[in-house]
């Protein structure tokens, strides 16, 4: 059979000027934040701006190393970067508000409510801080639970006492509050270190335990997670942002919420799969009783939240909003 004749091409609209951006996250393609975070965001942005923006996504290290990704975005070497407050927190402490707090929001819907819900809007504080630094907070996704795993059992917070676990940034604040001993090492060495016994366990986002194969080296997964909604942020250089036309900025801001929901849902699936993989490989999932969770919350209130408040005046203000949300939802 003859192929049908190709339809005549539609008259080409006037070629719009294409803006090209360079995007290098502070993590590599092996992280779930790549395929379920930055990639869908880029697709949505390119679609919303009708092909007037083309984004080149580069692996970590293509332009700079991870601690330099945010400074390089501020300087305009990169147009965009993505990461967590745990790796850029030294440059933007308010990022911790966007990242998430111990024992507060348990789902991405709840987390959205604290940062951008009509009544709370802690996100405004983060955006103000960003603008002061010369960046604009432009994308977001929740990666779900960030929890801990180990070769011991945790039924009450005291069980962490004396345990050596990999924990960075806010994780280490939490672990120290529980009496454990945070250890910092290159993430590539964590697996081996648990296997050989240098570490008793580690903190990590649940969805990422699959890729890191932690289920091969730990016996137990601990719940509830110390952080119920860990979030990853995308920032754009402020000049790059301001150079856009108003309709383009509106289009990108317009997908902020829908893309957050979409990417966070993708991550939720990963969390479920990771828990299943762990169980299939003989790991036990240990959940604290309600009474013990309440005792742990007291500890968090006393030792963990104040640390965030101390990071900056805006962080302090942001924690007030978090607390208001907790009270409104009967969690305090």
């Amino acid at each position: 059979a003859k192929p049908a004749p190709a339809p005549a091409p539609a008259p080409a609209p006037e070629e719009p000027e294409v803006t090209k951006w360079v995007f290098q996250p502070a993590f590599g393609p092996e992280d779930a934040g790549w395929g379920c975070g930055v990639v869908p965001w880029i697709e949505d942005v390119e679609a919303a701006t009708k092909g007037t923006i083309e984004i080149e996504l580069l692996p970590l290290g293509s332009i700079c190393s991870d601690p330099e990704a945010l400074p390089m975005t501020i300087k305009g070497v990169l147009d965009l970067t993505a990461g967590w407050a745990t790796n850029y927190g030294g440059d933007l402490p308010e990022g911790h508000l966007a990242y998430g707090q111990s024992f507060t929001s348990q789902t991405w819907e709840e987390h959205w409510d604290i940062l951008w819900g009509d009544k709370y809007r802690a996100g405004e504080l983060v955006q103000e801080a960003c603008h002061e630094k010369g960046i604009h907070w432009v994308g977001w996704c929740s990666q779900g639970w960030n929890s801990s795993y180990g070769n011991f059992e945790v039924h009450k917070w005291e069980d962490y006492q004396g345990k050596k676990m990999y924990a960075g940034g806010p994780q280490s604040v939490y672990l120290e509050a529980m009496g454990g001993n945070p250890v910092v090492m290159p993430p590539t060495e964590i697996y081996m270190s648990i296997k050989t016994g240098i570490l008793d366990g580690t903190f990590w986002d649940v969805g990422g335990t699959d890729d890191m194969k932690y289920y091969e080296v730990v016996d137990n997964y601990f719940l509830p997670p110390w952080c119920g909604s860990q979030n990853q942020e995308i920032f754009i250089n402020l000049d790059t942002w301001n150079a856009l036309e108003q309709w383009q900025r509106d289009a990108i801001s317009g997908i902020f919420q829908s893309n957050y929901a979409k990417a966070s849902t993708m991550h939720d699936e990963l969390v479920g799969e990771a828990i299943q993989t762990a169980k299939d490989n003989g790991c036990k999932v240990i959940e604290m009783s309600e009474a013990e969770q309440a005792r742990t919350l007291e500890r968090v209130k006393e030792l963990v939240w104040p640390e965030t408040r101390e990071l900056s005046p805006r962080c302090d203000e942001g924690m007030d909003i978090y607390m208001q949300w907790m009270k409104d939802h009967g969690r305090l």
């Binding site: 601690p67 400074p71 501020i74 300087k75 407050a85 745990t86 790796n87 850029y88 927190g89 030294g90 440059d91 630094k133 004396g162 050596k164 924990a167 960075g168 940034g169 280490s172 604040v173 001993n181 945070p182 250890v183 910092v184 090492m185 640390e307």
Partner: protein, 176 residues
């Protein structure tokens, strides 16, 4: 000429001192690494800041050791042809490439100052809990590249002397 010789000696001396600092830094890193393990393994008291100290030490080592290593002729080069040339031939090759190295150093210093200035004025700190300031160690970077530039310029001047005063062939920089 005398002024140049004096300046040359000053460059050597500055780098020699930086070299001594680098020796001390290496011994410090060795002892600190051992101490950190003992703390964790024997006393079960690991630090979350120990690794930051080690990493900052490595940045400092790269910065302050550059001029020293270059002065001692330790920067490896592909001397397929280079090794066969006379002192004068080598001098001519060095002169030809001088602009490239100088450009590399000047750009490095320029943006190094910019980076250090940024770190100091914005109060940049490490992302860990202790929040060490980044300003001091980042300031070492333009300084270190500047010391390398001094060695490069010094070699350039002596190369010119070698080329134009054929009798003088005292090597002012040793080549490995």
């Amino acid at each position: 000429m005398k002024v140049w010789n004096k300046l040359g000696q000053a460059v050597d001396l500055a780098n020699e001192w930086m070299g001594r600092l680098a020796w001390a830094l290496i011994l410090f890193l060795m002892c600190f690494g051992v101490y950190d393990v003992i703390r964790r393994y024997i006393f079960n008291a690991p630090t979350v800041w120990g690794y930051v100290v080690l990493k900052m030490g490595l940045v400092a080592l790269a910065a302050i050791g550059g001029g020293y290593a270059l002065k001692r002729g330790s920067f490896v080069r592909v001397d397929i042809l280079y090794a066969r040339w006379s002192r004068r031939g080598k001098a001519i090759a060095d002169i030809a490439t001088f602009a490239f190295v100088a450009l590399f150093c000047v750009i490095g210093i320029w943006y190094g100052i910019d980076m250090a200035h940024f770190a100091i004025t914005t109060g940049q700190v490490t992302a860990n809990v202790e929040q060490f300031p980044m300003g001091p160690v980042k300031s070492l970077i333009p300084l270190g590249i500047f010391l390398v530039l001094l060695v490069v310029v010094k070699t350039f001047v002596s190369d010119i002397r070698v080329v134009f005063h054929r009798r003088e062939n005292k090597s002012l920089i040793s080549h490995k």
